[in-house]
């Protein structure tokens, strides 16, 4: 067996394969289909201080090799998450990364603080890139000053490994990665969804009640890969790559482009076994090529 261990800040993962926030619920939904113990980490659905209803339906539309969503960060809130969801998740042999979100810098800091005080949270992923909420989310991720503020505020109150999740809806992703690194983020996650639109030509209405939504899935993979490659050259902290990963080959592309770990997102919906297939697949690839340690592959693209 090849050595698949990677480090995200001080956090050691037994393998670099995670599941992305919002695409794996709180883990339990997928437990009938995949053994949660095999995963490098589970990144949970974005959590805010208080419960959020989310956006009105329709919230989903399929596009060519992709999907638009406008869930709007519906979640049970920090309290219920800790009580009900986290206690379930803790029973598995995997790391728990909690994706958090607020409408103000203060709220971000509060929920981070709260989770830092909680047993069983292994790292925090800071979602400053959700395009589906009016306040907060992406607003923080497409303005350098806000990015700086929120990362810095959370860093101050939270001793856990801190991952900043960036928005791809920007001209220069490296600018934001550098800021996050500068403010003390231990890692960078990218990419979140791209802002998109679809129209029903029969009703003349947008396909989503919120008009626009976030585009994810294989369609965005080339954009995600490009951004990972750019960011890998710009920062020293590890990158968690995501955006359309469906197969071992996809995962390896991300790692070769510079990702230390990867997360399976939309693919969970149509193939709950994706992460498991990828873990096996990376192992076979490495065995076949005689590569002993996954670190030899990270950023290993010849360019």
């Amino acid at each position: 067996m090849a050595d698949l261990k990677v480090k995200i800040g001080s956090l050691v993962l037994k393998n670099p394969v995670m599941v992305a926030s919002g695409t794996f619920g709180y883990g339990e939904e997928y437990s009938p289909y995949i053994d949660l113990n095999i995963l490098g980490a589970i990144i949970t659905k974005g959590i805010s201080l208080h419960p959020i209803d989310g956006n009105p339906p329709p919230r989903i539309w399929e596009t060519p090799s992709g999907m638009l969503n406008s869930i709007g960060l519906q979640n049970v809130g920090a309290k219920a998450f800790i009580k009900e969801k986290l206690s379930y998740l803790k029973s598995f042999d995997t790391k728990i990364i909690v994706n958090i979100f607020g409408t103000t810098v203060k709220e971000y800091a509060k929920v981070a603080e709260r989770l830092f005080a909680t047993q069983g949270v292994d790292a925090i992923e800071l979602n400053i890139s959700c395009p589906n909420v009016k306040k907060g989310g992406m607003i923080f991720g497409i303005d350098p000053k806000s990015t700086k503020k929120v990362v810095s505020a959370v860093r101050k109150v939270c001793g856990l490994p801190l991952i900043a999740k960036l928005s791809p809806n920007v001209t220069d992703i490296t600018e934001f990665a550098r800021i996050a690194e500068g403010e003390g983020a231990d890692a960078i996650s990218l990419i979140n969804t791209l802002l998109g639109l679809a129209v029903d030509v029969e009703t003349r209405k947008p396909r989503l009640a919120t008009i626009t939504g976030g585009l994810s899935g294989p369609a965005i993979k080339p954009i995600a890969l490009r951004m990972i490659w750019q960011v890998a050259k710009a920062v020293k902290v590890p990158i968690i790559g995501m955006g359309g990963i469906c197969s071992t080959e996809d995962a390896l592309e991300f790692i070769l482009a510079g990702a230390t770990a990867i997360a399976v997102g939309t693919a969970n919906f149509f193939n709950p076994n994706t992460a498991s297939e990828i873990i096996k697949g990376i192992n076979s690839y490495m065995t076949e090529k005689g590569i002993g340690d996954i670190k030899e592959l990270i950023g290993g693209m010849y360019a």
Partner: protein, 282 residues
């Protein structure tokens, strides 16, 4: 959760009416026998386009190891499915969702179907029959070709009322009209449970009728789905009861308890809901 991901081989696949297909497939023994109203998430193609699985109801369990799906070609996904042939293998998740319940106290069931909404009502009728309930079925469609499975239901021996919008078969007009005509006859109202499946607009009117005549009514809803298992939160439907409760409690919806949810999930909390729960304008 008793749902599984499994591979099923197509046994028969025929176009039973223009654009309506009946597909029989293997139900492996390790898969739980589905209940009426439950559904499968089916990967219709082999590649990334279409990307997501499509939700399709269980139509008939024709033997211990064979299950049928009845579907209408609506867009890309169902079109791709309609091209899959005998012997091909489908990747499926299921059975999923909460099915129809049969309250023990009822002695009459009124089933209302719009178009392909007939699909999940057949196994329900079978179960109602087994439970010894009297069953009335109302089927509506645009035209004659939308009226499906009539013979199958007849062989169960239930009363059938049919309407088509163009009058080409049964009574001319909407299914909700013939339904209301029937319900107005006084003695039919006792110990009755209504069940409806079809287009949202039809379900809304059926719900209003049920409410007006104080009949309990289950509706099977549709919403766009990505995961089918409660993980993506994509298939939200607005609930009425919750939402009014909340408004009383306080305007700041963000201070509510997790239980008082404004939205429910069609895939997990449904697809069958009590009609009263639904905010039909939401």
């Amino acid at each position: 959760m008793d749902s599984k991901q499994f591979i099923s081989t197509i046994k028969t696949h025929t176009e039973v009416s223009p654009d309506y297909f009946l597909l029989s497939m293997e139900l492996p023994s390790e898969v739980k026998r589905p209940k009426p109203g439950q559904f499968f998430m089916i990967k219709v193609g082999r590649n990334n386009d279409p990307l997501l699985r499509r939700p399709l109801s269980i139509h008939r369990l024709i033997s211990a190891d064979t299950v049928q799906i009845l579907y209408r070609v609506r867009g890309k996904g169902t079109r791709v499915l309609s091209k899959r042939v005998l012997g091909e293998r489908l990747d499926i998740l299921g059975p999923l969702g909460k099915g129809f319940e049969i309250p023990s106290q009822i002695n009459e069931a009124i089933l209302v179907a719009g178009g392909v909404g007939i699909a999940p009502l057949f196994p329900l009728a079978e179960e109602l029959k087994r439970a010894g309930k009297s069953i009335k079925l109302f089927i509506g469609g645009k035209n004659r070709e939308d009226i499906l499975c009539e013979d199958d239901f007849r062989s169960l021996g239930l009363e059938i009322y049919i309407s088509t919008e163009d009058g080409s078969y049964g009574k001319g007009g909407l299914v909700t009209d013939i339904l209301e005509d029937y319900i107005q006859t006084p003695d039919s109202r006792l110990q009755t449970q209504m069940y409806a499946c079809g287009p949202k607009l039809m379900l809304k009117v059926v719900s209003e009728i049920a409410r007006f005549y104080s009949l309990p009514c289950y509706v099977s809803l549709e919403e766009r789905m990505a995961c089918g298992i409660g993980a993506c939160l994509g298939c939200a439907v607005k609930t009425r009861v919750q939402s009014s409760e909340l408004r009383v409690k306080g305007k700041n919806s963000r201070l509510r308890t997790p239980d008082s949810r404004l939205y429910r999930l069609v895939c997990k909390d449904g697809p069958v809901f009590n009609a009263e729960e639904i905010d039909w304008d939401g």
